[in-house]
Symmetry: C2
Subunit: 212 residues, 2 copies
DNA sequence: GTTGAAATTAGTACGAA
DNA sequence: TTCGTACTAATTTCAAC
């Protein structure tokens, strides 16, 4: 799940060989942290910031790309300056058994920045950026509503984007927070059992990392 | 509106000087199109792909950065491979007059990838990526619920991300769609007046671009 | 806004630890 | 695996047109 146009988890060839890829160590994560802030940094400068040799940086950099952990490099722009100052979310109810058509139609809509299938009241959420409110209205009533697979929509506008990170990493934690290691669970520790079990299970699953 | 941590529209200093920035022409947009797909391309190669000279490409590239149209360069990663295979949306109802505190708390949460203030039933939408479902549960019940500014939350899980573009541009239009130019409105054209007015108004506003 | 040449920097390929 | 260095290729800068 959570695949982008089905190009990650089972991309290779042989079925049965799940692409586990690299085990990301602390150095890999540090590289990803630096690249998140500056995707155009030279590998030489990257090596210095991470604290490894240039050759090592090249090796790891290439491995992360080849592995698919790094999908691509891109820019981040100011939508307002680009002329698309209005952002809206459209929650879509999809007619059952028309998912394939729904996806096909979306592929034809370059003005959509993001689309995800969700649980809950609606089936999908679409994020669009347009020049003005009227353009959103046109999109929803004339384009989306005409897709047979779309049963209903609900539109909300985004008034402000408080934060938008390119991505988050397992190493991103709240300032004062210490790394939550899977404690070896010493029997006899005086903690509420119910809560302990819950937290323990969560940590255990967190170890597995893939196959979600 | 739609500012990222208040760093775009009114960033400079003097009030009254709205940062209009560049007028983006077709070449600027083409540069942004190329950089969206390959943020690490050399300016030399960029020039070739856009069909302009090297020096021109450097000038425009620098202008876009200095202007703030390009905010930064970054990478795109595979969340599953990075160990955060679960994505969730948390819709938050914020207690009135506690917005400042709400924003302050969010700034302390590096695990949040995206947060936007919305119209509609809820007040804000937060997107988070975690290692497992239990971690989402912990985040919502123990971190978010403990923020006084948070009155209520509603969580949905993302089952699949159908598409995710770094950004959209005004030039992104559906394959067969022709560029909708603000036609000079020749009086006497035989179109339904009501509709005409509506579309005309929309196009007019699209011209303005900022101050939305 | 364009072209061409110089200086700098980046990327590659080794052997050694 | 990782590091250090030397080699090659490319990019950026700067100048003149």
């Amino acid at each position: 799940m959570a695949d982008m146009s089905g190009n990650s988890t089972h991309e290779g060839g042989q079925p049965g060989r799940i692409g586990i890829g690299l085990e990301l160590d602390a150095t890999h994560l540090k590289i990803l942290e630096v690249l998140r802030e500056n995707g155009r940094i030279s590998v030489a400068a990257l090596a210095e910031r991470v604290g490894i040799s240039r050759a090592n940086a090249y090796t790891r950099f290439e491995a992360l790309r080849a592995d698919g952990t790094i999908k691509r490099f891109t820019a981040e722009i100011d939508h307002v300056r680009a002329g698309l100052g209005i952002t809206a979310l459209v929650f879509v109810t999809v007619r059952q058994q028309m998912w394939r058509q729904f996806r096909a139609q979306l592929a034809q809509m370059p003005e959509v920045e993001y689309c995800a299938i969700t649980t809950g009241q609606h089936d999908a959420m679409i994020q669009v950026r347009m020049a003005d409110v009227a353009a959103v209205h046109t999109l929803v009533t004339e384009r989306l509503a005409n897709i047979p697979a779309v049963k209903a929509t609900e539109t909300v506008f985004i008034l402000d984007e408080v934060l938008k990170r390119p991505y988050v990493l397992p190493t991103d934690r709240r300032p004062g927070q210490t790394v939550r290691r899977p404690v070896p669970d010493p029997a006899g520790a005086e903690v509420p059992l119910g809560k302990m079990r819950f937290v323990g299970a969560a940590e255990g699953r967190a170890q597995l990392q893939q196959d979600v």
